[in-house]
Amino acid sequence: MIEQIPVLLVVLPIVGGAIPLVASLVSDRAGWPVATLTLVGQTGLAGLLAWTVSTSGTVSYAVGGFAAPYGIELVVDGLSGAVALLVAVISLGVLAYARKAGPHSGPFYGLYLLLVAGLTGMTVTGDVFNLYVFLEITGLAAYGLVASGRDASAAVAALKYLIIGTVGASLYLLGVGYLLAATGTLNMADLATKIGEMAAYDSTLVLTAFGLMVGGLTVKVALFPLHTWQPDAYANAPDTVSAFISALVSTVSAYALARLLFSVFTVEFLTAVPVARWALVGLACVSIVAGSALAVSQDSVQRMLAYSSVSQFGLVVAGFAIATPLAVVGATVHLLGHAVMKGGLFAATGVIERKTGATTVNGYAGMGSRVPVSAFAFAVLSLAMVGVPPAVGFVGKWYIVLGAVNAENWAVVAVLLASTLLTLAYFARLVERLYFAEATIHSKPDEAPVTDGSGQAVSFGMIAVVVIAAALAVALTAAVPELQAMLEDTLPPLLNQ
């Protein structure tokens, strides 16, 4: 039973997603309950899987009974178990938000579950081509979800996302081709051994494959300068979708990048080809600085949060590229923590917009007293993102910095430390406006606040999601030792320690 869970995790949401799609011919009401049921099951399975992995080690499953390396293998270790659990929990959480916030259609929930399937698939797969397929499934579902807003600007954003995203995925596919040419295999573990045996780390084929695959994935992660699709997509999608994809899509892509680095190319590659590591670290550092700078100059809060993601994923990728055990633990903590924080922040912007009509930095002025609970949650999440201890944003940063110091990579240490101040620069501005400025938008009692049209009111569930995200942003710190224990068995073989 246990070894079937990885494949069940992918199949369950696909099957579940088909039901609302069919049911929508009759009624749109079926979507939410079906999705909830499916995701409750998904969360249970993912929890069971994570527990199994942390107690008895890696779980692997050969799809269709074809043994690896010929067939497709699904492998779940501590790292992917944690990410799979995150995907399940967050998608269940966002559903509570979606119930009121909409969009309320059967196809929406179909796409939603398809996205969950794609993300989980990316997480559990142990095959580079399979990863491409799930990458595209994720992409397709995400494009559709972004476009599900009633506003046509959402379609423009989705098309931009689609074109850039496809180029990224295609580059990745091209890289897979190079690897296949070099080694003749697609299984990750097998690839690592073959590349190692050939000791061909600096051969043109492997180097090109690395460049193409990593380059393709950084488009999906949205590192600077390949981030251009992200602000439009996040800002124009319905609030539910913004919260969902901002929390998970880039996160799982960054996980895939890490998987590629450690399970396919391995740390030896990074050591043998310092240029590759430097390129990645450099890209990450540029992303941290440029993302923050762009975030500061934004007027729309949602776009600001999108650029903030560019910067935060710089931090995560820097941690992975440094590739010492501590740095990887830090990057993983920040990856998971960021998902919770950013999802919560987007959910909060949705609530604030529905209640007050405020969408811009200036519009947020004085809203601290109008929407006290959401504003407070927003402030807590902001501070957590800045890295104020003891929130989880700090723990991740602590480990990454520790790893960078261990690697004696002083330039990176400096950028990482400065990133706190850069993040502060754009969040402090908002928190200051929320609480210490005169309101620029005044409530008109007889006029309903402006919304994106999919729903007017704010439900208890929506506020609960925001508050829980804020609470988690602090409470997750307590779970870090647990996560570290889970990674302890996984990382040393990956990092050859």
Binding site: L140, V167, L173, L180
Partner: protein, 118 residues
């Protein structure tokens, strides 16, 4: 040079397709042409995989007595999958374009930008 062209013309075709596709994707202002560019770009990749599978004197990978040597079947399978993905992407892209056209009445990217940021 000419020999290289003669023996590796597939790869030159791949490069050409990738180049044309990418150029259209970036340079064309028409959204539909962008999608066509995207398709050409992907086709370049498909061709690359199929070329990988080739071996001189290889037969189609249908196992029979004395049939070998075979060309590698794996890239073909992969590309079948990739084509399916590509088709669905194109479908989604065209659907979005129809939506954009009904709303804004244009497919020109520059005009769209003006409308979009107003």
């Amino acid at each position: 040079m000419f020999e290289l062209l003669n023996s590796h013309y597939n790869y030159f075709a791949v490069m050409l397709l990738l180049g044309i596709g990418l150029y259209m994707l970036i340079e064309s202002r028409n959204l539909v042409k962008k999608v066509i560019g995207m398709n050409i770009f992907q086709t370049g990749i498909f061709l690359f995989f199929i070329t990988l599978a080739f071996r001189t004197g290889g037969n189609p990978p249908i196992i029979k007595e004395g049939g070998g040597p075979y060309v590698s079947p794996l890239p073909h399978v992969l590309i079948l999958t990739a084509i399916v993905v590509g088709v669905s992407l194109t479908a989604v892209a065209l659907a979005l374009i129809i939506r954009i056209y009904t709303e804004y009445g244009t497919l020109d990217e520059d005009k769209l930008k003006q409308l979009y940021y107003d």
